[in-house]
Subunit: 208 residues, 2 copies
DNA sequence: GAAATATTGTTAACTTTATAACACAAACTC
DNA sequence: GAGTTTGTGTTATAAAGTTAACAATATTTC
């Protein structure tokens, strides 16, 4: 499977999440337009995405939910799973970690790192917290490849450099600081303020 | 100013955030390529966005940071400001609220709503928490137009319907539940799992 | 003060992403 | 069992978004 459009990758993740919800409701088939409705997109978009990953429906019955979940998994998951660490287990770090727990996935948050002695060596949101001093050791020992950055902005830059040195290959950065990573490391950033300002813009312009 | 591309709106928000950071460092001018660097995009992109909003630089000195911040504000902000409420002041709600505080903006989180008696009537992350029973009254009284949904998934659907009835015009939905809003209400959704799965995909494919 | 340099604004070309069009096949319909 | 319906896979078309190209102009250099 060579290079899916980035947007398709995002939607595959969302399809799967919604499909898992459907499974929980004991459905076993779903039509493209129903799946589309869950994501607020068009049925054509769904069919096109699924075409790209080569998945075919049972004609006129829609897509086999369980099979589709597996197919998506084969595309976007790392076979053996990938280990993830949270760096900075404050409010946001706990929200992320708690959210992940229970959600099955090949992605496991298996450690958090913090400097606060109140937190170090405790289990927080179901995940053991280590001191950042031990980061190098733990990242290698636990084979952690992805880090989620939820520390105060001031430390973000040097922290990013450090974890990249220790072998992290992907970073989801929630701090507002512009990070620079070497090629070979994938960086994704998200800022809620952008989302809310966008909402505000459309509310203001009254465009919906 | 008629209908900017959605992506441009997002970037304007990001430009402003970075520009405010620059102001804090006592810079007063910035070149397109420097601003671009902060967002990991190209200088051309920056120039094109700023062209769209009709802002011109002082030639060869770059953009006047303070002026640009104001110009962006005139485009994306609501003149009198817009009031925002957090619904569900748990881990994520507190993270969002705390993050907003101090960030100047025409967007003010002025209330939170929850059902937990431990939280109601307390000030949490600097914002007063009200009981959801009083939501209708408070939304109208405080002229709240935008809501951020951070409640357990099960309640999301009915909550969305309720707040729309009470006059909310924009929703930022962090629950994983597919919401349906009537036209006239703008809905934005975000899911961290999508972000992380995307990171994982690119790490796996080793495309950077 | 002519030449070189740096940086912008804008049009045009390109790429990516989304939508539309439509032929096709299973499953009803009568 | 011919005809309609329904929902798909795919190719074609359009829209959105990005990058490239380049003329224009203030500043520096010599
Ligand atoms: N992008 C977004 O949408 C968004 C939203 C909310 C918060 N944030 C940002 O996320 C970060 C965390 O926010 P929060 O509300 O969880 O803050 P917080 O203060 O609750 O948590 C920060 C945590 O990081 C720990 N920490 C501090 N320095 C550290 C270091 N050098 N190494 C490791 N850990 C360290 C602290 O002990 C604390 O546990 C902030 O930078 C905030 O601005 C971003
Ligand atoms: N989209 C994302 O990226 C993302 C990330 C983290 C969490 N989440 C989701 O956000 C939600 C909140 O997560 P959290 O970690 O803050 O959970 P939490 O349990 O810490 O907080 C939930 C809060 O909602 C309150 N609440 C419960 N029922 C309510 C109701 N009917 N009306 C008003 N308030 C009510 C609770 O009292 C609590 O304060 C969950 O649905 C979670 O799945 C989404």
């Amino acid at each position: 499977m060579n290079k899916l459009p980035g947007k398709t990758v995002e939607r595959l993740s969302e399809y799967r999440r919604q499909l898992l919800g459907c499974l929980a409701e004991n459905k076993s088939y779903i039509y493209s337009h129903d799946l589309a409705g869950l994501l607020h997109i068009t049925a054509v978009q769904v069919r096109r995405d699924l075409m790209l990953i080569g998945y075919s429906s049972v004609l006129r019955k829609g897509y086999d939910i369980r099979e589709l979940i597996d197919t998506i998994g084969r595309i976007i998951d790392y076979d053996e799973g990938l280990n993830v660490a949270i760096i900075g287990i404050g409010n946001l770090g706990r929200a992320v970690t708690g959210y992940f727990r229970g959600k099955r996935s090949k992605l496991n948050i298996i450690a958090s790192f913090d400097t606060d002695p109140q937190k170090v060596n405790k289990v927080i949101s179901g995940v053991k917290c280590f001191h950042t001093q031990d980061m190098e050791k733990m990242i290698r020992e636990m084979d952690i490849r992805i880090a989620i950055l939820t520390i105060p902005a001031d430390y973000a830059k040097s922290m990013a450099e450090e974890i990249v040195r220790h072998g992290i290959k992907g970073i989801l950065n929630f701090t507002t600081v512009p990070l620079n990573v070497p090629s070979g490391v994938y960086l994704e950033e998200y800022d809620m303020i952008t989302s809310i300002e966008k909402v505000a813009y459309y509310v203001k312009e009254n465009k919906v």
